[in-house]
């Protein structure tokens, strides 16, 4: 399905506020100097007129810290020591998602649902099912944007239920799915699209698409043997300035590694999962102290091989959507485009 409407920019806040009555509304909000995705209680808190958020919106589908189960160790309790699932998440709409980040959701979908009941991640999937994704096209992609390298586009619609195109004082609203349609049903604000806006949207899209540099090639990586890439001498120098912090992994829309931890005070506790990062030495360290990836180089290589080689082997796509966050946020300017260029030689 595809349907085009328009909404005045001044009506967006009202639409979001209306939606908060039905479900959780997540949108870019200002927190100090940061633009981050977070829940809004009033539509006016949403900040849509800015470049992309500091961190990816994956937190809305795969929270950094998520309670999985609760338990009690109180001997008096009938269910002492047994795990109880947490309640189902609320319905939500994630508003103002850039197309690259929406493509990131599709990567997460692959990871969290690998087929067969035993490989389905309940927590992710039930949240996903209850989520509507409203996208916002990128009129002015940055020099660090390379979504086009992986088939993406500043106005790509993959993973979106609705796409908004900023045409000045209004947005063209492209309704892409039934879920998207349902969110707008009965709402004041969206109205019949006018030809001028549609035409303008087309022009904006065209110039934005042109402005994204093709970026990086990953075509040769898949054909190379794992060990050929693993033993490539390029790693000996590429990793050198990496500090092994988690900025790249935590800001990435597709990184999905996590840790599971129990936390308890007295007899009441939770089992929860927290984001984890392949950059941390603790990530792979065995209880015995043995560590299969003991050095910075091992961990650096793992991140790039995972994204561009292993993930391709397993899921037939790379685990990168070209959002450019890791390039902009890396404290030591490690540039994924340069690393991949070496890998793809």
């Amino acid at each position: 399905m595809m349907k085009e409407m328009v909404i005045d920019k001044k009506d967006i806040a009202g639409l979001l506020t209306e939606l908060t009555g039905e479900m959780t509304v997540i949108a870019p909000v200002r927190k100090g100097d940061n633009l981050l995705f977070g829940p809004v209680s009033d539509g006016s808190e949403a900040a849509l007129d800015s470049v992309n958020t500091r961190l990816a919106p994956k937190d809305a589908l795969f929270p950094q810290c998520e309670k999985m189960m609760t338990f009690t160790t109180d001997r008096q309790a009938e269910d002492a020591h047994t795990m109880q699932d947490v309640s189902e998440p609320d319905k939500q709409v994630i508003f103002g998602v850039r197309p690259c980040d929406a493509a990131g959701f599709l990567i997460l979908d692959k990871v969290f649902n690998q087929g067969g009941a035993e490989y389905e991640d309940t927590y992710y999937l039930r949240r996903r099912e209850k989520t509507t994704v409203v996208g916002l096209g990128c009129n002015k992609p940055l020099s660090t944007c390379f979504c086009a390298s992986f088939g993406g586009s500043p106005f790509g619609t993959d993973g979106l239920d609705i796409l908004l195109t900023d045409v000045g004082d209004k947005y063209v609203v492209t309704v892409l799915t039934d879920k998207g349609e349902a969110r707008l049903k009965g709402k004041s604000g969206p109205s019949e699209a006018d030809p001028t806006s549609i035409e303008k949207a087309g022009q904006i899209k065209e110039s934005a698409v042109k402005s994204v540099k093709a970026g990086i090639a990953t075509d040769k990586i898949k054909g190379k043997a794992t060990m050929e890439l693993f033993d490539d001498p390029c790693w000996d120098t590429l990793y050198e300035t990496c500090m092994n912090c988690g900025v790249c992994t935590y800001s990435c829309p597709t990184c999905h590694c996590f840790d599971i931890q129990d936390e308890a005070i007295d007899t009441e506790g939770v089992r929860m999962r927290n984001w984890d990062s392949c950059m941390f030495s603790l990530f792979t360290r065995h209880g015995s102290g043995h560590n299969p990836r003991p050095t910075k180089k091992d961990r650096f290589r793992q991140r790039f091989l995972h994204k561009f080689k292993y993930f391709q082997d397993n899921f037939d796509t790379v685990a990168c959507v070209g959002c450019g966050r890791c390039i902009r946020l890396c404290p030591v300017n490690i540039d994924v485009r340069q690393v991949v260029e070496e890998m793809n030689r």
Partner: protein, 139 residues
């Protein structure tokens, strides 16, 4: 029952712990709110212990060692004093209430003083109420 402060006291083995012992055998009265943890020397006191105790529900902390010049391990308490000075000011700066974390020197001979210190600390903690700022809630 009214709220009773939970206080964790880290006492050095040679002076303050012995002081507590003396207070006990001398049958001196002092508030029962203190849980004692014996450490070999105030120099062993790692500030991590303070925050761990607060995180896990302590309302007040007392760290007590040998008087300077009176110490068992020659200089342990002098080094500790520098660490405590910095840590204390950092906690204050972070907005942790005055009266949450206390330091004292109590010798093995000062049973009476020990009882006084405990009363003082207990009253100070009682006055500021339950600790909430670094007390972890998981659920």
């Amino acid at each position: 029952m009214a709220w009773q402060p939970k206080i964790v006291a880290f006492l050095c083995n040679w002076c303050s712990y012995a002081g507590a012992d003396l207070a006990g055998v001398s049958r001196m009265q002092y508030p029962p709110n203190v849980r004692v943890i014996r450490i070999p020397c105030s120099g062993r006191m790692n500030p991590k212990f303070i925050l761990s105790a607060l995180k896990n529900g302590a309302d007040g902390i007392l760290i007590s060692g040998c008087h300077p010049g009176d110490r068992h391990y020659l200089s342990g308490n002098y080094f500790a004093r520098r660490k405590f000075a910095l840590f204390r000011s950092l906690l204050d700066y972070m907005g942790i209430e005055d009266g949450r974390v206390h330091f004292s020197w109590v010798s093995a001979a000062e049973g009476e003083r020990f009882a006084e210190v405990i009363s003082e600390v207990t009253e100070a903690v009682r006055a500021i109420g339950p600790s909430r700022r670094l007390n972890k809630k998981v659920i």
